[in-house]
Symmetry: D2
Subunit: 371 residues, 4 copies
Amino acid sequence: MRSLGIGLIGTGFMGRAHALAFNNARAVFELPFNLTLAALADADTKRAQRCASAWGFAQAHGDWQQLIDNPHVDLVAITTPNHLHYPMAMAALAAGKAVYCEKPLATSLQQADAMRLAAYEAGVVTRVGYNYQHNPMIAMARQMIDAGELGQIISFQGEFSEDFMADPASPWSWRCEVEHAGGALADLGSHLLAMARYLVGDVSKVCADSQTVHAQRPASPGSTEWRSIAVDDQVHALLRFANGARGTVSSSWLKHGYKNHLSFEISGTHGTLAFDQERLNELRLFRAGEQGFQRLLAGPALPGYAAFSPAAGHQLGYNELKTLEVQELIMALAGQGAAGTDFEAAWEVERLATALRLAAREERWVNVSEI
Amino acid sequence: MRSLGIGLIGTGFMGRAHALAFNNARAVFELPFNLTLAALADADTKRAQRCASAWGFAQAHGDWQQLIDNPHVDLVAITTPNHLHYPMAMAALAAGKAVYCEKPLATSLQQADAMRLAAYEAGVVTRVGYNYQHNPMIAMARQMIDAGELGQIISFQGEFSEDFMADPASPWSWRCEVEHAGGALADLGSHLLAMARYLVGDVSKVCADSQTVHAQRPASPGSTEWRSIAVDDQVHALLRFANGARGTVSSSWLKHGYKNHLSFEISGTHGTLAFDQERLNELRLFRAGEQGFQRLLAGPALPGYAAFSPAAGHQLGYNELKTLEVQELIMALAGQGAAGTDFEAAWEVERLATALRLAAREERWVNVSEI
Amino acid sequence: MRSLGIGLIGTGFMGRAHALAFNNARAVFELPFNLTLAALADADTKRAQRCASAWGFAQAHGDWQQLIDNPHVDLVAITTPNHLHYPMAMAALAAGKAVYCEKPLATSLQQADAMRLAAYEAGVVTRVGYNYQHNPMIAMARQMIDAGELGQIISFQGEFSEDFMADPASPWSWRCEVEHAGGALADLGSHLLAMARYLVGDVSKVCADSQTVHAQRPASPGSTEWRSIAVDDQVHALLRFANGARGTVSSSWLKHGYKNHLSFEISGTHGTLAFDQERLNELRLFRAGEQGFQRLLAGPALPGYAAFSPAAGHQLGYNELKTLEVQELIMALAGQGAAGTDFEAAWEVERLATALRLAAREERWVNVSEI
Amino acid sequence: MRSLGIGLIGTGFMGRAHALAFNNARAVFELPFNLTLAALADADTKRAQRCASAWGFAQAHGDWQQLIDNPHVDLVAITTPNHLHYPMAMAALAAGKAVYCEKPLATSLQQADAMRLAAYEAGVVTRVGYNYQHNPMIAMARQMIDAGELGQIISFQGEFSEDFMADPASPWSWRCEVEHAGGALADLGSHLLAMARYLVGDVSKVCADSQTVHAQRPASPGSTEWRSIAVDDQVHALLRFANGARGTVSSSWLKHGYKNHLSFEISGTHGTLAFDQERLNELRLFRAGEQGFQRLLAGPALPGYAAFSPAAGHQLGYNELKTLEVQELIMALAGQGAAGTDFEAAWEVERLATALRLAAREERWVNVSEI
């Protein structure tokens, strides 16, 4: 069996999530590769070494370029702050290595565009971490839609709201910077746009309204110094899909009570389907002709679930979605399957977000093809 | 105690609902009038007589003008098809009588404008049957908002969806006619717009997208003859409120699984509030600083509920909302209270719906003041 | 059409509920009688007169025996405190009149036994106000069970909990007196036992555990005088049904958060059905072979619902269950239908509650036939 | 740092769950040991080798006694069929090794008793895999109860139902054998009894009713040969706790629609708390004086959650409960903490189950101290 060496850049929460996912994918799935954790990089060399040891990586690097150049590294996983995605991914692609990058792809559409072109020219497998799509319940939703079980799709109504910035005293962070692709739309909304595209297809035209409710925030927790905020706190938008469906999307990081409320309802001529990430093991489904909405609970009829549990109702957690993302990436590297969001698809998400921003700024409908 | 004679026009479902509501209001509340059921009118005189007897009305008329002219009638209640609201209300106002008209106020904005001016000149009490607002839970929501318990309101996201036209074989009806103020926006959406205005206030600017999904329907149940449909099956829109809040509204009569899904979430700087008419005795509330959403259940702390039951959890039904609407109308007639939607406010709802239609037709943001 | 004169004793909350129900039954249903509100009795003659006028009764009596003797009264409705049910019902039966009595039938099993025998000898229609059974959703549940849609019934798990006595400072009331058939089992649990019998059938054997948690309560609101409490605050029991099903019932008036939590799950070899009175317009249903529980929402396919609304999702309220109870009583008086709980069935409920009390006192299984 | 060598016996679903849990515990937590996966045993040597390689164990054994004797093994984890728990655990204890055994502790109370005594004499740390207790939401429930936030606990109502045997054609399996501690009570109910004891405390007296609904099942899937079934399909019971609380427990593997319905409501003098394993990241809580039940969602304020995710709403899955169980076991091995179910506590669960069986067989109340 061929070997596949993983190089991971970044040791924060998302770095550890990747490390767990690679470890667990190896234990849970029959993979077409002999997976090795080849190298871990962090600008703090000591931390790189400590985490490499704890997480099972063979080598540690203080310089990410060294990790990319490491001949044992076949796949470069990038979990650093957003503005580093571009240089790291470009360097990995230049080295002909497969890339697995956290979302957002980049902090500007120009960068995203360059990255997808570089990926195309490198001819390697790329993936971006839109992990919510790897939920077996979402896979099931996609299959039902593709199989026509909901009929023709006529509406998508989605919302991704959280409340971590709801308190006006929640301080400024890099998430509040335009140049780091900040704001509720970029941070949360992009997951929702990716989901809408994944389930319903291309969006052709949009209108949007965005708002900065709290125009100043403390510079740091408890600080009396205030910083101006330029990014949006909430966005509401109208979508027209290429297939004729219509819909709304909303995103807010000010909505009290919600912690991970990536939710949607999809209405078709034969049924309605609803999902809320705060109950990620469930779908609500109404089939035309039935008497009421059904609550479906994840179970081993779904392959992605069966990998983790032989019994329904045991429930998967967020980290297992990441393991599933990794497994699908590895299958793609073996030429077995095309699931997941590659750089091309991730660029489409950024393009759509850009169209929403333009529509909001100019207070008009925007054709996505304008972008 | 002064007497108040009720004259009711129409004997359909809504006519009976009015009859029940007047009867029950009399039994349940201490009213400031001696309420009498003076007269009932229906074009079918026999039916008028039969219903008058069953429902307790003193007289029956086959001609609605006679009912208006009947000296025992002080208040004219109109429950006829939409296109008759205008001539009947105008005649009642001309006769100096108070008017209680079912929604929509009229089938064109011009008529609605004439009606609110006539009401103003007549100087009488008018009300339009936006019954969902009379739910004690909605009264509670309004009070919480007015008292600042949610802080500054920053978003309203509302939806009114049902599925009674979801089957493409659901036949054409008067609800499908533009000239009867048909379509999902007019039939369902107007309730939602009235609710948004009632709870959050004036809307200043809108953008909208409407769609006729099924452009033809059978002329009658089971018919092989098809009629073209010009009204909307679904509408999605963006709202900007005068107070700075933003939001979305959606309305559809194609959404499988929903029967009376007038729902909304209101987000403020101190909390979030949610409601669904399919569970009309409940509110979901999150207060900043608390750990989770609370499910509030209607109880006798709310006066409108206490009138019907001394114990929480017993639940009110739709017809009791109508009784509460009638009670509030009667209090207004006695000069005690201004709750409810008068012709002026109902015209504002029609104006807002007209702004949505213009925005959808011209694919642009529309200032409501343009209308 | 024959006339039917109603005589109502009692003007409290339940008296008014009866008055509303008779009025509304007349307006909503095509009844086989010409229904007249003949007489209203209250020990306070002034109050009797005032209420008779407000509620539409032709006559008022200060003495309930006069009401029973009133030749215009065909049906005597009893809504007085529990200890008066026995003398009033016995007098009405002696006068050969039909009787509609609030629950519980009596305050002792001996009285209940005498009443059912007197009813049997009088040969008149009797009914006891177990109103929750008249919910169209419960009628639907019964029909599904009778039609075998759940297969063989194997378990019933029921609970009726409220929290109106949860505060130890909630004062003593007549509900705390043994001689008024007080306690959580009698006050709440009897509704649950009646429901279990209605849906699953006779109970043959029981074991039970009852407890008085707060053995003293203030003599009146805010009082510093304490009264001893002898009745149960909570009861838990095991049931064996004659048809082989097993189950549990629990009743508490100390359970914080519940307002009207009459709930049950019925499990059969082909499916599971669940209900909660706090959402009286819904049923949860799982059919063998399906993927998840369905939430069924009351709609006009159910005759009891259609009488009040032509559209699903509008919801009935508690008072409409009372109207349905009255309608079924009137149909029974016309010899059209046997729905509802007559004195015989109500005695069976009291007998079952007595068996539970004996089982709890003696800490053993009790055959209901012992009682 | 001291090293800790893990020896795992069994390679089925639960074996893999242990392997994942040890791996993840090492990556997620700062452990007080240098954890090594020393050896894996399976009667099928080839399988042992294959799994050892996939899961990262240093050695593979075809004979479990060899694993116990392996000097690199400090802790023996047992995930084999129930009847092997006894000989393996006794051998491990005899070798002076710590033992981590899946539930149930044994297949008879005599064995369980011998095991707890052997553990006592060996003086080593023991744990039994009642994994549901390690949910951070359950830890929170326990803390709230211990802190008196619910006041005095007055009732526990619990149910553990699934539907994997609901189809009468579901075949016989070892779960149907008395000598393997089979039946709904042993298989599911023991989790519930452990939970009741963990949250409310010792149970002093019980009454129970158990039933075999399907007395024969196919010998294997699709077989026409039938085998008699002696174990219970459903059990209902009454509990009295030593602290005065009362309650019910029910367990069924015939209840259609439920997949992992380990649920309970705990009622105290200051509030009510509810949980359902099918939504393991949630608690429903009513605090006296509040208006409604709150839905609490797991978040990083809970240490067991924070280990896996820095953000609320991300949700843990079943496998992470196992990782938490392993972490608590390892802390106990380091003398830091006593959380979890040791052999003594697991014997108490078996004793309680035995009391329920006796009560059911003899149809009487049983003092647990009789057993």
